[in-house]
Every structure is written in structure tokens, then in C-alpha cells.
């Protein structure tokens, strides 16, 4: 599978879309850091931007690439190699390419201008976010037949996770304001990879405010390392689970 991954990376690295994405991220990061002397404020701005852009590009680009390479996939299937290795190869290839763009566009500037606990958290959660949305793209792509539908579904997923979800959570909070919702809130957060990445960054940027909550569960969640561990583990699940389901679908899929 690493053989396939290698050649996919060689292909994607030269693709204009990926280069454009890298340049876009780099431009955003540099502009923010240059415009403002305050690195913490810079990190806040970058966080706001990447929570929207990174999932969008990751999911749409992966889906597009997946469908554009449909015939190539057929060719691979006609070769003596298992379907599992083919899909994993594709995931590693696409995933590491999109990840590379994030590393070059965000991690490097952050390392230079804002190397701190918050900076590291931003980098780690951004990387995990990238991979989870590549994984989600694989999940939807292996379950749809044509490209238009696949991209439509990818966009819907992005819209749901990036925008709609938190609105629904807020609505939920207001509807059940009189009940203790700590557990429910933490559980809801687990259902959205973007929220998990956000919580990780919150735990760095806003720990002072978060510590103001008296509820025992929040105290434990925010105060000890358990919030960080919880978010990290679930983010990894958000990478692994859709990929596993994609694998299951791909093994049975007619090409």
C-alpha cells in the first residue's frame, strides 16, 4: 500500500489545486502574523480560519481526487493487490498530501512565529482535523457512485459539521437550559471532529475562563488532562472509524 501511496503523493504534489491550497494557507498565516504583533491574537485568527477552510478543502479535494481516479482504481484492482491495500494506499497518499499542505501552510509559519503550547495544539489539532475529513471523504466516496453526488455529500458533511452542528447544539442548550447538561454537552462534542479540535485549542487559549465552571464534570474535563486526552482519542477515532467503514464498503464495491 505504501507503493501506491508513494505514486499518489508524487501525482498530487504537482497538482495545481493542492499547490493553491498550500499557498492560500501560507498566505493566511503569514498575513495574520505580519499584520499583528500579538502572536496569541494571531493564533486565534488562524484558528477561526482553519476551522472552516481545512475541513472544507480536505473533504472536497479528497472526494474529487477519489472520483477522478476511478479508472485508475479499476486498473489497480486488476493488479495482484488486495482491495484493502489499494484503499489504504489511496488514503495514505491523499491524506499525507493534504496534510503536507497544512504543514507547509500553517505548521511552518506557526512554528516560526508562535511556537508555544497553543501553537503546538493548533498544529496537532489541525493535522488531526485534516485527516478526519479525508477519512470522511473516503467514507462518502465509497458509498456513492458518481462524482456529483459524492461532492454534494462532501459539502453537506462540511456544512453540517462546520456550521450547522453548533447552531443545533445552542438550540438544544436553550431548549433544555434548566437541566444539567454537562455530560450531554461533552457527548455532543464527541460527535463533531471540528468541535473536538476546537476544544483542544480552547483548553489552551481559554483555560482561565473554562476554569470558572463549578460543575464537577467540567472541572475535571477542563482542569485535569482528561479533556485533552478525551479530545485526542476521539479525534483519532474520527480518523479511524470512517476509514474502517470505507474499507468495508470498498471491499464489496462494484467498480
Amino acid at each position: 500500500m505504501f507503493k501506491i501511496a508513494k505514486y499518489i503523493i508524487l501525482d498530487i504534489v504537482r497538482s495545481k489545486v493542492l499547490i493553491a491550497y498550500t499557498v492560500l494557507l501560507l498566505a493566511i498565516s503569514l498575513t495574520i502574523f505580519m499584520a499583528d504583533g500579538d502572536v496569541t491574537k494571531g493564533l486565534v485568527s488562524i484558528t477561526t480560519v482553519i476551522m472552516i477552510i481545512v475541513p472544507l478543502v480536505s473533504v472536497v479535494y479528497s472526494t474529487t481526487y477519489y472520483f477522478n481516479a476511478a479508472e485508475f482504481t479499476e486498473l489497480l484492482v486488476s493488479q495482484p493487490i488486495s482491495r484493502k491495500n489499494i484503499l489504504m494506499g489511496k488514503f495514505i497518499g491523499i491524506g499525507s498530501s493534504v496534510l503536507f499542505a497544512f504543514v507547509a501552510g500553517v505548521c511552518i509559519p506557526v512554528s516560526i512565529f508562535a511556537f508555544s503550547a497553543t501553537g503546538i495544539t493548533l498544529m496537532v489539532s489541525g493535522c488531526l482535523l485534516t485527516l478526519s475529513f479525508v477519512s470522511l471523504a473516503f467514507f462518502t466516496s465509497t458509498r456513492t457512485r458518481d462524482k456529483a453526488r459524492g461532492i454534494g455529500l462532501a459539502l453537506m458533511l462540511w456544512f453540517y459539521f462546520a456550521i450547522l452542528f453548533d447552531g443545533l447544539v445552542l438550540l438544544f442548550l436553550y431548549s433544555f437550559a434548566d437541566y444539567p447538561l454537562e455530560k450531554a454537552m461533552i457527548a455532543l462534542t464527541a460527535l463533531n471532529p471540528i468541535d473536538l479540535a476546537r476544544i483542544l485549542i480552547l483548553l489552551q487559549l481559554d483555560i482561565s475562563a473554562l476554569m470558572g465552571y463549578t460543575g464537577a464534570l467540567y472541572q475535571q474535563f477542563f482542569g485535569s488532562g482528561s479533556g485533552i486526552i478525551f479530545s485526542l482519542i476521539l479525534q483519532i477515532i474520527w480518523i479511524g472509524a470512517p476509514l474502517l467503514l470505507a474499507l468495508k464498503a470498498f471491499k464489496k464495491k462494484d467498480l
Binding site: 500579538d38 437550559a177 468541535d195 485549542i201 482561565s208 475562563a209
Partner: protein
């Protein structure tokens, strides 16, 4: 001639009267306790205590003495009584380790107690595991300098580090207080100065004022206490150039102000506190030239506060700049720098052309529904705040900085 002789005699006797004798206390001499030395001494004498462990069950200093510990001798009360009580004026008490006072709810047992005295200096002592540390009552012109106080860190068995009751003109300088209930406590203590102290990890407050007017505290650090400093029922306190940091938790504040008036809060650093300044029933407070950085809430001003002025401060990296619990009136913000300000400065005078509203919509939301803290920095929250800033409808109309600075104040 007789006159001259008399004068000569007096002159010869003077050194004894002015400089006094020196008495040495040591485990190896006849004078083996401080108590015995005090019994032998006269006003003006000096007692030097040599290294060793001495039991001191409430040794009472009732003469005008200079008592110096040499190489940090230990005075230990073995939890039976107070360690040392000073009841005479003009005492200097310096260089001891004072430990294990009795604890209990009946009396405020202390490591060193000063009662109804004047011109006393307590300096360079280490107080360990005492119920109260240094306890001053009804005393004036006292100096408490360079002491190191560490309590038991047990909520039930912990009194205050440096405790003042009905005192005037006290200088508290260069002390370190930790693991006590309140690091430094002032009740009816007036015209006093607290400077260059560090108060951290105390169970309640780093520094606590009750009914204590006209005091000044400056250049102190209050770190990781139950709250940094609490100023209550007090007037005309000056709070200058202090650092309030890492005072974290529910109902924990960097600086808590309650029922106070005419205070000056200037040049302080509020860094990484859950709430930087909390104000309840305050009047005529001037908050100026302070830095608020990385706090959960930089300032929380309740609706019961009037005529408070926030000017020339920097607000940077706070989760929320300001909140309140109702409609806030007659509190004024001006010429502050707010890192969240997104306005413009067309006339290039360094002051933004549109006002800044420090209370965001989400701050209001979280006020009503604290559990929504999990949504902080989400897209929906950012969107709500942007819309509200563009078209204010829920946030208090009166709370705004008409002259927000474009760049932070350099200090």
C-alpha cells in the same frame, strides 16, 4: 567641679544605658531558653540566640529588646501554645524559625503575636506550620519585613499569614506567604503599606481588606490563591503595580472589590485569572494603565456599581473583555486598547473612529446559560458576536469605549 565630676560619671555610664548589654542564648550555656534571657535582660539589651532547637511555649517579650537569631535558631511550640508574644514597644525580633503553634477554634494562636505595641520590627523570620503567622493587634508603627510564612495548607487548621486587627502605620514588605487562609489580612488596619510581597497558594485570598481605609499596596505578586486580593467595605485604597496571576476557578478572582469606594487601581498586571477584576457595589474606582491579559473575564462589573472609570488599559487575549449581570449604567470606558476591536481609524489619530463594545453577545449568553461555554470560539458564536457588534440589540447600549486605541499602550 563636683558638677563636672557628676557629668563625667553620667557620660561614662551612658554606653551601658544606650547600647545595653548582650545576652547569649545557647543550648551549651547556662541560658538555654529565650525566656530565661528575657527574664535576665533590661530594656535596651540585645539577646543573641545561637543555632539550636528551642522549645518556646508562648515566650512573652515584655521588655524593649533586640532579639536576634544567629544561624536561624528554631523556636518550637509543639502545638501547645503560641510561640512568641511581643507586648513591649521598641522591640526588634529577627532571624528565627518559628514553628508549630497550637491550632484550634477557641483562640487565634499565632507564631508571633504583637499586642498593643509600637515601633516593633519583625524581620527575616521563617514561620512554619503555625495556625496564624504574624498576628498584629492594636499596634502602630510596626514593620514586618522579609519574613517567609508557610501554613499548614489544611482548610480547617489554617489561619491567616500576616493578620492585622486595629492597626495603623504598618509596613509589610518583602514577605512571602503561602498555604495560609488569607495570605495577608487587614481588619480595621489603616494608613498602612504593603509592598514587594509574594502571596501564593493561599486557601482564601492572597490579601484581604475588611473595613481598612487609606492603605496602599504596591509591587506585590498574588499568584494562584483562592482569589488574588479581596477589598471589602473599605475606602481609599491604592493598588499600584501589582501582579495578579493564575487565580483560577469558579468564583475566583484576581481582584475582588465589594462595597468599596474611591480606590485607585493603576499599573497592575492581571494575567491568566478566571476573572481579572470583579466589582460589586463599588463607587468612584479608577482603573487605569493596567494590563489585562489571557484572563477568562478581564472585568466583571455588576449592575450595582456606579461612576467607575476604566481608562488607558490594555485588554489582550482575554476570553471575554467585560460582563455584567444586568443593565450597567454610569460606568465609563475610555482610551483603552482592546485586541478584539475591529474598527478603523480614518483620521489616523490613533483612536478608532467607531466605539468598541466590550460586552459581547456571547458573554451575555454564557451569563444566562453557563453550559454553553463548550461553544466558545465556534463558528456560530463568532457569527452571533459579529452580527451583534454590527447591529447591537441585546448588549447594553451604554457600555462602550468611545475612544478605543488602535495600538496597545506601551509600558
Amino acid at each position: 567641679m563636683r558638677n563636672y565630676l557628676l557629668k563625667l560619671c553620667l557620660l561614662l555610664m551612658l554606653p551601658a544605658a544606650v547600647f545595653g548589654r548582650t545576652i547569649i542564648v545557647s543550648p551549651h550555656t547556662q541560658i538555654q531558653t529565650l525566656k530565661k534571657a528575657i527574664d535576665l535582660a533590661k530594656n535596651g539589651d540585645t539577646i543573641i540566640v545561637q543555632p539550636g532547637l528551642y522549645t518556646s511555649i508562648n515566650t512573652i517579650v515584655n521588655k524593649e529588646l533586640t532579639i536576634l537569631g544567629e544561624g536561624k535558631p528554631v523556636l518550637d511550640a509543639h502545638h501547645r501554645e503560641e510561640v512568641v508574644t511581643i507586648t513591649s514597644n521598641n522591640v526588634k525580633f529577627d532571624g528565627f524559625i518559628i514553628q508549630n503553634s497550637r491550632t484550634g477554634s477557641m483562640r487565634d494562636f499565632a507564631g508571633v503575636r504583637l499586642s498593643k505595641v509600637q515601633n516593633v520590627t519583625v524581620s527575616n523570620n521563617t514561620l512554619l506550620n503555625n495556625f496564624f503567622g504574624i498576628y498584629l493587634s492594636d499596634s502602630n508603627n510596626i514593620s514586618v519585613i522579609n519574613n517567609h510564612l508557610s501554613g499548614s495548607n489544611n482548610a480547617e487548621n489554617s489561619g491567616n499569614g500576616i493578620h492585622l486587627w486595629k492597626c495603623k502605620y504598618v509596613l509589610i514588605s518583602g514577605n512571602y506567604v503561602t498555604h495560609h487562609r488569607d495570605g495577608i489580612y487587614f481588619e480595621f488596619a489603616k494608613n498602612s503599606t504593603i509592598e514587594n510581597n509574594v502571596s501564593e497558594k493561599n486557601i482564601r485570598y492572597g490579601l484581604h481588606f475588611m473595613f481598612s481605609d487609606d492603605d496602599t499596596y504596591l509591587h506585590n505578586t498574588f499568584r494562584n490563591n483562592g482569589s488574588g486580593v479581596a477589598v471589602m467595605y473599605t475606602r481609599r485604597i491604592k493598588m499600584l503595580n501589582n501582579t495578579f496571576t493564575q487565580n483560577w476557578g469558579g468564583s475566583i478572582y484576581g481582584l475582588l472589590l465589594k462595597e468599596i469606594s474611591d480606590a485607585q487601581i493603576e499599573g497592575n498586571q492581571f494575567i491568566r485569572n478566571t476573572t481579572g477584576i470583579y466589582m460589586e457595589n463599588t463607587e468612584r474606582i479608577r482603573v487605569t494603565k493596567n494590563n489585562f491579559r489571557s484572563n477568562g473575564w478581564a472585568v466583571r462589573v455588576l449592575a450595582s456599581c456606579y461612576n467607575n472609570y476604566f481608562t488607558n488599559n490594555n485588554f489582550e487575549g482575554n476570553s471575554f473583555d467585560a460582563t455584567t449581570n444586568g443593565s450597567l449604567k454610569e460606568n465609563y470606558f475610555s482610551n483603552n486598547y482592546w485586541d478584539k476591536y475591529e474598527g478603523y481609524d480614518l483620521d489616523k489619530n490613533g483612536i478608532g473612529d467607531v466605539p468598541y463594545r466590550p460586552i459581547s453577545l456571547y458573554a451575555q449568553v454564557i451569563e444566562q446559560n453557563p453550559q454553553s461555554v463548550m461553544l466558545m470560539r465556534s463558528f456560530i458564536v463568532n457569527l452571533m458576536d459579529k452580527v451583534e457588534r454590527a447591529v447591537p440589540s441585546v448588549t447594553p447600549e451604554t457600555v462602550k469605549d468611545e475612544k478605543p486605541m488602535m495600538k496597545p499602550w506601551k509600558r
